[in-house]
Amino acid sequence: MPEGKLCNRKPINTEEYLQEVLSDTGGKQYYAEMEELDVDVPKLQAALKNTLKSRTKTWLDMCAHCGLCADACFLYEVNGKDPRQVPAYKIQSTLGEIVKRNGEVDNEFMRHCMDVAWSQCTCCNRCGHYCPHGIDMGVMFSYLRGLLFSQGFVPWELKIGSGMHRVYKAQMNVTTEDWVETCEWMADEYSDDWPGLEIPVDKVGADIMYTCNAREPKHYPEDIAEAAILFHLAGENWTVPSEGWEQTSLTMFAGDWEGCTMQVNNVYAAIERLKPKRVFGTECGHAHRASAIEGPYWAGRPDGQPPAPFRHYVEWVAEALREGKIKIDPAKRIKRPVTLQDSCNYVRNWGLGSITREIISYLVEPGYFIDMAPNREHNYCCGGGGGFNGVGKYRPQRNVALRKKRDQILATGAELVIAPCHNCWDAIRDLEEEYHIGIEWSFLKPLLIEMAIVPDHLKPRDE
């Protein structure tokens, strides 16, 4: 059973291997090797035996084939209602077949499964709400991804993503030193405008421990500065951990469950070390899902709870505004058409639909907020979820997927989209690039800083 040098069943655990895969531009050699990769049938059978339990079995077996889930899937809609995009069909023709044949499948079939699992489903969990039997294809696709990952059939970028987490404990090669330095640099950079601004590292017993997405220190460190400014404005007693600050999980997108466990344990170790009252993660949907919703289970915590209450950033913002820790200058409230992107990962999967709208009520002048339709729990994925945004191989499909959000946004007539989720933010940026609909998009942090009333004692002293 030939395994390739780059494409094989071994996850990336060393820097050398990671570098090797990374240097294979676009995954050319990787995908070529994948065509030769054998399926380890006994291993697949063992995996099915150990992990295919009553929920998945019943779902596969009981599907009434009623097709009610079809319209629920945005990918079905944007692909011209192609029946091959019906959620029930997608899962039954992939996972269903693997189960039916008890793992006796070949390379070609596995590559087909890979295409479906990563380019025809973003694990947004929307279809599950429309199925009378409560069959959640998002959950099953995630399971399928796990099987595919363990056999080496995973898109190049996600193999790398998973390797990054395994090697650097972050989705990008940001080391502890890089991270701590970035925090110091940002505190310094902004301290002229914000005297006394601090990014306290490793403070034990703070009220809040803040965690983020590795792309912030790597690509937009100002986001960390903005978080610091807002905590500073609100007078919070907060800290960031030097280790365990990265809460995203490309391992989750990749289906690398062992990697997920490693990643989240790292965050939980920080919580246990610093003993904060609460943890708030940045404006990122999948990061929240990985560290607060699914994380406790990967970490094997029987109560399903993280070591301290773990909340999403929008929950902190709503609280700060509600309690007047941050006050908005009424003159600066947004007075142009604005809409909001509901992130599947914390709206559908954490119930935050009302919280984000509460925030809107403080930030937007009445009459200027236009909701997308459908919204809240029934929103559509941004089009780039589940790793879709990052996989070059599936860029054409991803660009088609963006059309749903484009049309939703256009229907609102909004000029600005508030997107408190990294991935959604990226997808909306890309859709503007691709389709030029003339919109702006923003996280909450810059808007808040722009609109907040700064008390005199926090203002820089003019010379």
Binding site: T51, K53, S54, R55, K57, T58, W59, D61, M62, C63, A64, H65, C66, G67, L68, A70, D71, A72, Y76, K81, P83, R84, V86, A88, Y89, Q92, G128, H129, Y130, C131, P132, H133, G134, I135, D136, I293, E294, P296, Y297, G300, P302, D303, G304, Q305, R348, N349, W350, G351, L352, S354, I355, P374, R376, E377, H378
Partner: protein, 225 residues
């Protein structure tokens, strides 16, 4: 023949069905795995049950969820079909008589006219469901032979019963055919997709618990199905 079918065979069919369904329920619940499903069922039973209840209710009441509301035509047919499918066999006068005679159970019954009407409604709804399978590409692509088999097993007792009651042909033949198809329906419950008579509740309860416990139900208002 009639005695045999409505006596021992009826017992047999019921036994197979009840034991089979019970076993599958037990197996389902035992196969739930908090770690693999990623739902802490036990420590948060209260929140879980609340979620389960809401989830079941949302789908057992017509138009109580967004899925039903977006497809009103389907919803009406779907409920007509299921109400007939359960209501007619349970409350038919002829069936009440057998229950009384054989098992000494007093059972309410509906009028013959009502049963007739409901039978026709059920058959029309069934026709609609079959048509959907043939015509809509999104349903056709998922339909397989088992779906047709289940439809035939479910409808056969209605057709044969209707013919027998209205004496369109040889009464004895149609009555026996009716009883046999009815027994097949009962015995098939645990082994076919008809398992959803209980599976629906199990599956909906599971997803409801997932939302009630893990996906925000413990912190915020429940999920709006």
């Amino acid at each position: 023949m009639y005695e045999l079918l409505t006596g021992p065979m009826l017992w047999l069919a019921f036994t197979v069905s009840v034991v089979g369904l019970a076993l599958r329920i037990v197996m389902y619940i035992r196969g739930l795995d908090w770690k693999l499903d990623r739902v802490a069922y036990r420590p948060h039973m209260g929140a879980g049950l609340k979620g389960a209840f809401r989830s079941i209710l949302a789908f057992i009441v017509p138009f109580a969820n967004r899925s039903w509301r977006t497809k009103p035509g389907f919803t009406i047919m779907f409920f007509a079909f299921h109400i007939g499918l359960l209501g007619v066999p349970l409350f038919l006068e002829g069936h009440a008589v057998i229950l009384k005679e054989r098992f000494g159970i007093g059972w309410p019954a509906m009028s013959m006219a009502a049963a007739d009407l409901l039978t026709i409604v059920t058959l029309v709804a069934a026709g609609f469901m079959c048509l959907r399978r043939l015509v809509l590409p999104e349903v056709r692509i998922v339909t397989d032979i088992r779906d047709w088999a289940v439809m035939i097993i479910s409808i056969a007792p209605f057709v044969t019963g209707y013919v027998a009651v209205h004496q369109y042909g040889d009464y004895g033949f149609w009555l026996n055919a009716h009883i046999i198809t009815g027994l097949i329906w009962i015995a098939a419950l645990p082994f076919t997709k008809l398992f959803h008579v209980v599976g629906f509740f199990l599956s909906r309860a599971q997803l409801g618990m997932d939302f009630g416990i893990k996906r925000g139900g413990m912190n915020y208002e429940g999920f709006h199905w």
